[in-house]
Symmetry: C2
Subunit: 461 residues, 2 copies
């Protein structure tokens, strides 16, 4: 019954185990650092939220009362697993963390928390941490693409592919051999879980999903280092992830353009930042409005009417929201989003909370309408074109346009914008003061030069 | 967008949250205590095995160095989650733990470890512990039946349904309300995972599966107590467990005969003990051989030939194993199993390890053959009938028969046999001495009278 089994190492395991920071091209390194700083804002925005606090309390009750890994902005530390659990829960709460469009996967929330916790525990350098995180992004995005649309219909890809992403990042930090990395993938994939069912009653599972992915992936990597074995073909095996959780899995996506000697497709750099805190369907028009206001020096009061030329999907999702009565609803109101963007230059968490029913917001909201546009609709979903026509109070008819929403790779954020966004999120979360957040973010930009990863926030945060 | 959602409490959540030990009929209480003692032997058999030791090391590295919950026979303690992780890993290693035939689910491994760890942490009584464990069995078995055969083809039901079983047991100990129990089910189900793919290369995932189920279910219950919400219909919702992981799920099984006021179907009592340490297809014939030997006072040397009258499945699985060369293979050799049973009264772990190639074993093995039997084949798989014909050296032709293999509910083990099996497993594991194991097992039989659940092994084990 027992047979000797010839096992070959999957190129993705090989890649993740061997990636060096110096292999990563400079523009991708820079983008990875951008994503790292952007992630930090999301953690600070979420860390005091009720469901996140529940997970952090649980983590602190099950881990040691102090340890090598920072529980960010809780004034606490614990073991790597418990810190990863708490920080990952915080990362995805405000829904301002990054997103990879093709895989519909939010990498930051499941990669940075476990990697940071382990880097702090083993005294890794900043460059080692960032190489591990790039490995996590590259693996997680490809696993998400591999699992496909059928998977995403029922499973939360950030939770499922996220377990593999976390294992890859932690495994790289623990210097797993390619064979050990393959075992870690097996142990991660067999713990891969996360169902969308919670959405039906707006339950708290999203925080549990990122926490679970981070902790389970971390455990898989530690076990692999200790000689614990896992399935050798967890992706495409007859009883593996695709067999259990997908009907349109595409194995070619697992290795699509996998970089070799630095050359190839760096999926990390395809990751988008979220700029506005609203439904994605509102972003192109909001950016187009800002474009035309900048170009013509318009103030909100100059606007008599805005026509958003949109794809059908935007009308389907946003059309019913005429008069929002909750903050959540207002993020699906095209008029509210455009009004906030016009007044504040962005539609952020704070603006929604404080201003969604302010008279200025409502006044401009009432002047916004949507219209189906053939060009925009035809380009969607490959391209999210933003087009608006503005009628000014002095009778002009002006056109605004963006070809890619702000935050996507072709229209990315500047480092100043990333810093500003992170500080806004930190202020929104209220867990740390402005000075402390400012100083922490300034330091985070230097991560690749850190000889050793320490606490991101000074003690006593 | 936000709607008020009317939520009803699932009868299974209601049942699990409200079950009292005094609701459980005395014969079911007794069976539950039998299963509890039987489980303890499995933990001691597995606790020093390599994959189990890896998980225990990981647990101890991530939890506090000491805590309220016993890491059994490791001379250690930690937090409930970490103790549950380690003890659950140990429980399923020797594959001598119990099994519920209808759900193809091994309840003990995923119910007792998290329940024990939490009972120790909160100072529960033995009756509270056992009520919680019955809740775990009843829930886990029904979830396993609900998920069905299509699920089991790809997913390891002990891992997936096990997460729900663990949540139910721990949730009961934490005195969750029915509504909280439903949230705990949601949080458990969305972490439910475990793929059979590891079998292809005999990887270590089985230990990870029980560990993960225990820890994830425990976390779900603790979070629910803290107000953390989960999906309200994690079983049959459009993006729930059945939607993601089954194509033949049967919702009626979730509440099949659910006891009400003590009256109903107690699935706990349907659970089978494993008596022999071999492939289940060998058990009926091994028991029938022992029956005929007892009846006629035969010794192994009296046997000239044994014909096993079997179902086709037994021939398919066992037929190829003619001359086993490894311990694992020998557990699929009908001749070896019958030889060990004839010589030692049972085919246990120790007998396989030490005797599978002993001259006496091989000599009798060579006298055993299988033959398809119409009655046995027609009854299978509802009934596993054992039938043998023995030709004696003095020329007699004798027939042996059992209608249910030893360990199944209709042919269950006596308490003496359970004690003996547990002590054999303890000796096999080698983690504790005979005196200590004997004294611990004697105490375990009194669990329902314990005012407070303490360590199962005296300190210094």
């Amino acid at each position: 019954m027992k047979q000797e089994i010839q096992v070959s190492i999957h190129p993705l395991a090989q890649f993740a185990a061997q990636l060096q920071w110096s292999d990563v091209p400079a523009p991708v390194q820079d983008r990875a650092v951008d994503l790292w700083v952007d992630w930090f804002g999301s953690v600070l925005a979420g860390c005091k939220a009720r469901p996140v606090a529940s997970i952090a309390r649980f983590a602190m009750s099950q881990g040691p009362a102090s340890g090598p890994s920072e529980v960010i902005a809780q004034g606490a530390s614990s073991s790597p697993m418990m810190a990863a659990l708490a920080n990952a829960a915080a990362s995805h709460f405000a829904e301002q963390d990054d997103v990879h469009n093709g895989s519909v996967f939010h990498p930051a929330a499941v990669v940075f928390p476990p990697a940071l916790a382990v880097a702090q525990a083993i005294g890794a350098s900043g460059a080692e941490l960032m190489a591990a995180c790039v490995a996590g992004y590259e693996v997680g995005i490809r696993v998400g693409e591999f699992l496909g649309r059928s998977h995403y219909k029922v499973f939360h890809t950030t939770a499922t592919a996220g377990t593999l992403a976390a294992a890859a990042a932690v495994g790289r930090l623990l210097q797993l051999t390619p064979a050990q990395m393959q075992h870690a993938f097996g142990s991660a994939g067999t713990q891969s879980a996360g169902l969308w069912e919670f959405l039906r009653t707006a339950a708290d599972s999203k925080q549990l999903h990122t926490a679970h992915a981070a902790a389970a992936g971390l455990m898989a990597a530690y076990l692999a280092r200790d000689g614990f074995t896992g399935a050798q073909d967890i992706f495409t095996g007859a009883q593996g992830m695709a067999a259990g959780m997908s009907s349109d899995a595409n194995p070619a996506r697992l290795t699509d353009g996998l970089p070799n000697g630095g050359v190839g497709r760096w999926a990390t750099a395809e990751t988008s930042f979220k700029w506005h805190a609203s439904c994605r369907h509102t972003h192109p028009a909001a950016d187009a409005l800002q474009q035309v206001m900048r170009e013509h020096g318009l103030k909100p009061a100059d606007i008599a009417q805005v026509t958003c030329h949109v794809h059908q999907g935007a009308i389907d999702v946003l059309g019913p929201v005429v008069s929002p009565t909750t903050v959540h609803q207002s993020k699906f109101s095209m008029g509210t989003v455009l009004a906030l963007a016009a007044h504040f230059g962005h539609a952020g968490l704070t603006e929604f909370d404080a201003q969604f029913l302010a008279p200025d917001t409502v006044a401009l909201r009432e002047k916004v309408r949507m219209e189906l546009d053939a060009e925009v609709d035809a380009a969607y979903p490959q391209r999210w074109i933003g087009k608006v026509t503005v009628q000014t109070t002095d009778g002009r008819r002006l056109h605004g346009r963006v070809d890619e929403p702000k935050g996507d790779p072709g229209n990315t954020l500047s480092r100043e914008e990333i810093t500003a966004k992170a500080l806004r999120l930190a202020a929104y979360g209220g867990a740390v003061g402005t000075a402390q957040a400012t100083s922490a973010v300034a330091s985070l930009w230097q991560v690749a030069q850190w000889p050793r990863v320490g606490d991101l926030l000074a003690a006593g945060a």
